[in-house]
């Protein structure tokens, strides 16, 4: 089922509400990056992935698989999984609470459908994706492996081990998206450990690089379609996705301040007023 743009917009608004409500509910979590990646994960889970949420299998054979490497944006991930049917929406209310399957950072340990690897300690997801991609090739499974990383996360050396591996071995069934929001916990990435021109770095490793405006629903849809077409051509694919951390909630945008803090009651009301309920709160 392909959702229309107006339907997708409803999911995007609802997911933004979910994110701020989940983080507010336990007064912890990471709203900034989650809000910035809302369009991407909504389009990916509603319209792009060829998957079977009702019958989740760890192996994901003959399905597209998504790996979240920057596990701290778990609120948007959990909302996207719930809205595509991996588990009941009501479970979002248990986020980060004792005995929940929705741990602070995603894990397979509690058996949450949709999650295939623990993430949180950064830099490992692209390597995991390479492993799944190699297994798909061995199995002659032509579906794709998607992975999302943060731009700050690219400071982890392991990422570049995997970048080198993927191109050397022509892993052309991976679509790796980098959330280029320019922010990390301690400040702007350009000040902490800046990358001048990410495109040239990935291209130097022989990746196919495309850019995307991550907070434009239309551009996310177009670019993800384009990326899938580029697969199977001997090169791994990188999408440099420009986003605004905190997008959709005006006072959370424009700085790194909302990377990992929760809104208070008043701030929650203001955030929800900017994102009215569409398909219903959990």
């Amino acid at each position: 089922m392909t959702r229309s743009t107006s339907e997708l917009n409803e999911y995007v608004a609802q997911t933004r509400r979910d994110i701020v409500r989940m983080v507010h509910g336990v007064q912890s979590g990471h709203p900034g990056g989650s809000l910035g990646c809302t369009e991407f994960l909504t389009v990916l889970y509603q319209n792009v992935l060829r998957h079977n949420p009702a019958k989740f299998t760890m192996e994901g054979q003959n399905e597209d698989v998504f790996i979240l490497s920057n596990g701290h944006i778990s609120p948007v991930y959990y909302s996207a999984l719930a809205h595509s049917g991996y588990f009941p929406k009501s479970e979002l209310a248990t986020f980060r609470k004792l005995n929940t399957r929705l741990q602070g950072h995603p894990t397979t340990h509690e058996g949450l459908p949709g999650v295939r690897i623990a993430s949180g300690s950064l830099g490992q997801g692209l390597s995991v994706a390479c492993g799944i991609a190699q297994a798909k090739k061995l199995n002659k499974d032509e579906k794709l492996v998607y992975v999302l990383m943060g731009d700050g996360e690219l400071q982890e050396g392991q990422i570049w081990e995997a970048v080198m591996y993927a191109s050397h071995n022509k892993i052309d069934n991976i679509i790796a998206t980098v959330d280029v929001n320019g922010r990390q916990i301690d400040g702007d990435t350009k000040d902490i450990m800046g990358f001048t021109d990410l495109r040239s770095k990935f291209e130097a490793f022989n990746w196919n690089v495309i850019t995307m405006e991550g907070n434009s629903l239309d551009d996310v849809q177009d670019t993800l379609s384009k990326a899938a077409v580029l697969s199977g051509n001997d090169k791994p694919i990188c999408i440099l996705m420009n986003t605004e951390m905190g997008n959709g909630v005006d006072f959370m945008m424009g700085s790194h301040e909302w990377h990992g803090i929760a809104p208070n009651d008043e701030q929650l009301e203001a955030a929800l007023a900017q994102n009215p309920s569409t398909i219903g709160d959990y």
Binding site: V128, G131, I132, A133, Q134, Q158, Y165, N169
Partner: protein, 310 residues
């Protein structure tokens, strides 16, 4: 007595697995010859992944292969298989419960001349602390080959530790079972629990003790986790004193696990033959075992001390 390196037991076992289980895949970080993985690589090139000198990527990629239903065997030196990639193992393999077999060669002092940078003596401790991790340290070629075959049938993460030097081959084939202690010599005065290369030294020590009229039992604890609690407690109850012997730090090794067990259920005198909070250095395996207190005479002395404390 025939001598063979335990790493060849791994290489031969992996090759056999390749023949009989198409889900088995091999990954190696630029040490294919050292790990004896060439036969697997040559026979099953599509199922062999050359990772280059990039161990972190290798470990997490193995987690991905396991996610998709493969049974990955990673190969590099024990140092680079554990400490270097601890966080990758912890998050992507142990916590994620992935069916990855971390196969580690050149463990301990018997690596020899390369020196302390490569002679890891902390790996058993690092691995046994991880929830759900099985830890195996076979004692000779036959046992290493058997263990390699056995772990493919075990669902869950495994750390398999072996070594570089040619070492006596003394166990029978087909006597290995994960988690089941192996009685190698009966005795009534003292029980020596040994793992890895030190099992041979313990058997030699028991022979020498017999000549002095001391009856030493030798039990091979190849699986450090899960520990064969019953076999250990039964043996200790019989002889009333214990020696542990291993090529590892005293902290975190087999002796440490046995002391925990005995202190809870049957506190008895224990003497530990292990490296005492020290790094190694360059030298031949024999020289190093002697200098760091892991020689046959050290096991003999430990047995006498244990008996004297009864």
């Amino acid at each position: 007595m025939e001598k063979k390196d335990t790493r060849s037991g791994f290489g031969d076992g992996l090759y056999e697995l390749g023949l009989k289980n198409e889900n088995v895949v091999g990954l190696c970080a630029d040490l294919t010859g050292s790990l004896k993985m060439n036969k697997f690589e040559n026979e099953f090139p599509k199922r062999f992944f050359q990772m280059g000198i990039a161990e972190a990527n290798m470990i997490s990629m193995a987690a991905g292969l396991a996610t998709a239903g493969k049974i990955p065997f990673t190969g590099t030196f024990a140092n680079f298989s554990t400490g270097r990639v601890y966080d990758q193992i912890r998050q992507s393999i142990a916590y994620s419960d992935k069916n990855v077999k971390i196969c580690a060669s050149h463990a301990g002092l018997t690596l020899g001349e390369d020196g302390a940078t490569h002679q890891i003596l902390e790996d058993i401790g690092l691995m046994k602390m991880l929830p759900g991790m099985t830890v195996i340290n076979p004692c000779d070629y036959n046992q290493t080959k058997a263990a390699t075959l056995a772990i493919a049938d075990h669902q869950g993460p495994v750390y398999l530790r072996f070594g570089r030097p040619k070492w006596p081959v003394f166990t029978e084939e087909n006597t290995f079972e994960i988690g089941k202690a192996l009685h190698l010599r009966q005795g009534s005065d003292v029980t020596i629990f040994a793992t890895g290369h030190l099992v041979w030294n313990s058997l030699e020590a028991a022979k020498a003790l017999a000549e002095e009229g001391i009856s030493a039992e030798v039990i091979n604890i190849h699986t450090i986790k899960p520990l064969d609690n019953k076999a250990i407690l039964d043996a200790a109850a019989k002889t009333q004193c214990v020696v542990t012997a291993e090529e590892h730090q005293m902290n975190g090794g087999l002796g440490d696990s046995i002391c925990q067990l005995l202190s809870r259920y049957n506190p008895l005198p224990v003497e530990m033959v292990a490296v005492d909070d020290s790094f190694g250095e360059s030298g031949t395996p024999e020289e190093l075992l002697e200098k760091y207190g892991l020689g046959i005479k050290d096991v003999i002395a430990a047995a006498k001390r244990a008996i004297s404390r009864k």
